[in-house]
Structures are given as C-alpha cells and as structure tokens.
C-alpha cells in the first residue's frame, strides 16, 4: 500500500512535482507514466525518503518510509540500477544488503539465480556489467528482504526483449501474491503490458489516473466504406459529424448500431464497422503529456 497525498517539490522557483496524489493498492501493479523530466523520479525519491518534499506526504504501508524500522524488509526499492560501486562484485552487493537487513545469506545465491545472474556473472565486478545485468542485480537487491511493496524507477531500461518479458512476469507474479508494485516508465508499451492502474504525469502534475481499462475506453465507431466521401456526406446529413482518418476510415461519435442504420438507409456498402479502440495508451499519453500540440 502506497498513499501519496498532495506531494510537491520546488527547487527555487521551479516546481518539479506539483500536488501529486495517488494510491497503490495491494495486489495491483501501478504504472507511473510520463516523459523524461516530468517528475517521476523526484516523486519516487520522495516516497522513498531520499528527498524531502516541500509539502505533502507519502506513506508506505501506512507510515512514512523513514519511519519503517527496517525498510528493506517491507519495501523493495530500485531507483537507479547504475548506482552501484563498480569495484564490488554482484554477489558482494547482495551480501551487503542481506547483512544490513539481517536476511539469511543463503538467499543471495537463490536470488541471483532467480534474476538470471549465473554464478560466473555474480563473481564479476559490477563495473563490467551491462545495464541489463545491473537492472537484474537491482531487482535482486530490491527483493532480498522479501518485501510486500516494490518501488521501481524505469526497471526495463537496458533489458533485452527476453528480459523485459521476464520482468513483466516477475512483477505480475509479485502483485498476484498480494504485493503492491509501483513502477515508472517513459515507455508506454512497458506499462501497458503489465499495469492494472495508471498514473500519468506531465510537467510535475498528474494529468490522468485510473484503471487501465477505464483510461483506454474510448467512445465512437470506426467505419469503412469503398466510397468514404459518400459515407461522410451521408453521416454528416444525419447529424453525426464524422471525421476522416488518414487510412480512409471514418471515426464517428456514435454507436456502431446507429452508424450501420444510417448506412443501410442510404444503401451504402460497408467494409468495416466496429467500436473505436482508441489506439492504445500511446494516443492518451501523447495527448495528455504534450505541452505543444503538433501542427
């Protein structure tokens, strides 16, 4: 459980995060989506007690992160996979975390195995790791305390496609076992594939949030005819204000039932008639976060 309430961070006259509020429930994956520089990392750092908010509060498991006695046992945090000592081996990094948290050392090889770092990779120094390997090590570090909450900043960065699929499975499984996951990304497809809920941030402010299905639902109908112009005129005459798409289909702000009836009444053949699918989150993301509308 994560509760963020009116979180604000100002640096001088610049407001990096502006009155951000959202909740993450156990059993769900929340995607924190926004372009680079939108305030995602600052928000996650404030939740994790690394940055003091100018105003507002963030609670993890009902309390401020800094007040958790042994936070690593309850909350797994991965904010930057590259922030590791280059002269330490991957296994040593995990051993240190295990030691701080008071976790059985035998979890170290187990976790290395689980995140796909075989023994020969674990013996290498982190300085020789690819970003993908560092992400895997960071995930292992976040998981070592067996937490019930995960906070991950751009965990898919640097992972190969196989790694990305693996990560999705891991997060889904974590949430299905009543865990709470908050992960950020600037890549829409990452979030779309795994998140139940979405929080979209642009320029420090939340521009949309809700269930994925809810945010994706759009109204309207897509219809295609051999002669788009005739259909366009017919629909316009029926008072339905159609829009012509680049691919020759028409988007109409009405139900498929209505559109079909108008076409039938005019004797126009239809090649396609369906509810609009909204074009995925991409459209939503672009619409909501772009400050300057493309010409």
């Amino acid at each position: 459980m994560i509760e963020v309430d009116e979180l604000t961070k100002r640096y001088g006259s610049q407001t990096a995060v502006d009155g951000v509020s959202f909740r993450c429930e156990p059993g769900t994956v929340t995607g924190f989506l926004g372009p680079n520089g939108a305030g995602k990392s600052t928000t996650l750092r404030m939740i994790s007690g690394l940055t003091t908010p100018t105003s507002g509060t963030a609670k993890v498991l009902g309390t401020a992160f800094q007040r958790l006695p042994n936070p690593g046992r309850q909350v797994g945090v991965l904010l930057d996979a590259s922030a590791q000592h280059s002269g330490r081996t991957g296994r040593e990094v995990l051993r240190i975390s295990a030691e701080v948290l008071g976790v059985d050392r035998r979890r170290v090889p187990e976790l290395l195995e689980r995140v796909g770092l075989p023994p020969d990779a674990a013996r290498k120094r982190v300085g020789n790791y690819s970003l993908g390997m560092r992400q895997r090590l960071g995930i292992a570090q976040a998981l070592i305390g067996d937490p019930s909450v995960l906070i991950l900043d751009e965990p898919a960065n640097g992972l190969d496609p196989e790694g990305i699929v693996w990560m999705r499975g891991l997060l889904r499984d974590f949430a299905d076992r009543a865990g709470t996951v908050l992960l950020s990304s600037h890549l829409l497809h990452e979030i779309e594939a795994v998140a139940d809920n979405l929080v979209v941030i642009g320029d420090g402010r939340i521009v949309a949030q809700g269930g994925k299905a809810e945010l994706l639902a759009t109204t309207g109908t897509v219809v295609r005819a051999p002669d788009p112009d005739a259909l366009y005129d017919g629909l316009a005459a029926a008072g339905l204000s159609p829009l012509l798409n680049a691919d020759g289909t028409l988007h109409v702000d009405a139900s498929p039932d209505e559109v079909g009836r108008v076409a039938a009444g005019l004797g126009i053949t239809l090649l396609e008639l369906r509810a609009a699918d909204g074009g995925g989150l991409e459209q939503l993301f672009l619409t909501l976060t772009s400050t300057e509308a493309p010409a």
């Binding site: 690394l50 006695p69 922030a83 002269g87 330490r88 040593e92 701080v100 008071g102």
Partner: protein, 249 residues
C-alpha cells in the same frame, strides 16, 4: 506487554550490525584492497628501513612500533575518507540510505568502523614491532604512554579523514584537502612568524606530533583538544548538517 523471545522480523538493524557492514564495505572493493595493501607495505617498509639504517634507540620494540605506526597513519585515514566519499562518487548512497534512512546512524557506523580499523592497524603495528625486534634484538620495554598516544593518534587522524570526507562528499577534493591543507598551514606558519604562536593551536600535525612520539606533556593536551575540535569537530558538524539536508539521487 508480552515478552519477545527473538528479535521482531522488522527490527531496525543494530549499530554493531551496521558497523560490521561498513567495515566490510571498506575492504571488499578493488580500491579498498589496494589501499590496505599499500598501507601494509608502507608499515613493513618503515620497519625494514629502520632495521637496516635506524639508530640503536630506534631498533627496539618501542622504536619499531612507533615508526610503523607513523607510516601506517599516513594513508590509513584515506580508507575512512573513501568510505564516506565513495557513497557519492560511486553513488551507493542511494542504496545505503534507502536501507537505513536514519542518516546519522550510517555516519555513526562509519566512524565506529573507522576507529575499529585504526585500532586493528595499531595491533598489526605492534606485531610488526615485535617481529622487527626479534631481528634487531633491541630492548623489549614498551612505554605505555607511547602505546596510548599512538592509539589516540591513529583514532584522531582516522576520524579527521572521515570528517573531511563527510564535509566534502567527493573523493578527490577531500583527499586533497586532507593532505594539502595541513601541509599548507604548516608551511605558512613556518614562514610567517606572527602565526607561530596560534599555529600550535590549529595545526593538527604539530598538535599531534608529541602524541605519536609518546612525548605529551601537560601543556600539549589543550592544544591537541583545540586542534582536534577544529579538524574534526567543525567538518563533522557541518558534514552532518549537509547530509541531513541533502537530497540523495
């Protein structure tokens, strides 16, 4: 209240645990191993050179131990300094302070780990002194004042290194400050006559010199206290303040 037989699973990490972790972090990196090896070589070399070319009074347990201590104390504080600055230059602060949000506790653990390392180094010097004297065949008497003095000296330079590291939070500037500033002050006070009097109070090198040599007299202690306050108290206090307000990223 019911008695708890074993620690609660989410009990905060104890200070001894954090000290163990910090000691481990000082020694588990490639840079750490190199630095400690270098320090050991310096100590052994000092003993070796004294055995070959030292005066008769140096070729005793007391003398060899003292010389080894001075050689080791030269670089040892850098281990402490790097254990603080490394958190920023290697960016491990992000993990360290996420696992232990009480920043002061981490600093306390680092200070205690540094002191532990300093006392361990002292023991190693004692062993080196004994080994050297087995060869030299000099006097076996060990002046207790020198032993305590050397211990205090080792602790002071180590904590000073940690404090400068905490204040500056970056390796290169901290190392330069730790070595160059005292040398510059020393040179300045040697050349500028009017500074000689005050220098005894703020030059840590001069204030600690009798300590390392085991020749502290009553009047030396206030000077040592003042110099220590300047070189440890001030950077440590400012460093803690800086750390408390600092955003970690």
């Amino acid at each position: 209240m019911t008695a708890i037989a074993h620690p609660a699973p989410f009990a905060r990490p104890s200070l001894p645990r954090l000290v163990r972790v910090e000691l481990r972090k000082m020694t588990d990196t490639r840079a750490g191993v190199w630095l400690l090896s270098l320090i050991a070589i310096a100590g052994v070399t000092a003993v070796g050179v004294t055995l070959v070319a030292g005066t008769e009074s140096d070729q005793t347990l007391d003398g060899l131990f003292g010389i080894c201590g001075i050689a080791v104390a030269l670089l040892l504080p850098v281990v402490g300094l790097l254990c603080v600055t490394g958190e920023w230059t290697q960016r491990t602060a992000l993990t360290t302070f996420t696992l232990v949000p009480a920043r002061g506790r981490v600093v306390a653990a680092k200070l205690l780990a540094g002191c532990g390392l300093a006392l361990t180094a002292l023991l190693v010097c004692l062993v080196a002194g004994v080994a050297g004297n087995l060869i030299a065949g000099g006097s076996w008497s060990l002046d207790l004042a020198r032993l305590y003095g050397a211990a205090l000296y080792m602790l002071i330079v180590m904590v000073a290194g940690l404090s400068v590291g905490l204040l500056l939070m970056r390796s290169a500037p901290a190392i330069v400050t730790y070595f160059v500033l005292p040398a510059a002050i020393g040179a300045l006070t040697q050349t500028v006559h009017s500074l000689r009097g005050p220098a005894e109070w703020f030059d840590l090198g001069r204030a600690t010199a009798p300590l390392g040599a085991g020749e502290m007299v009553a009047g030396d202690w206030p000077r040592l206290a003042v110099a220590t306050a300047i070189w440890i108290g001030v950077p440590l206090a400012l460093g803690l303040l800086r750390l408390r307000n600092r955003e970690l990223s």
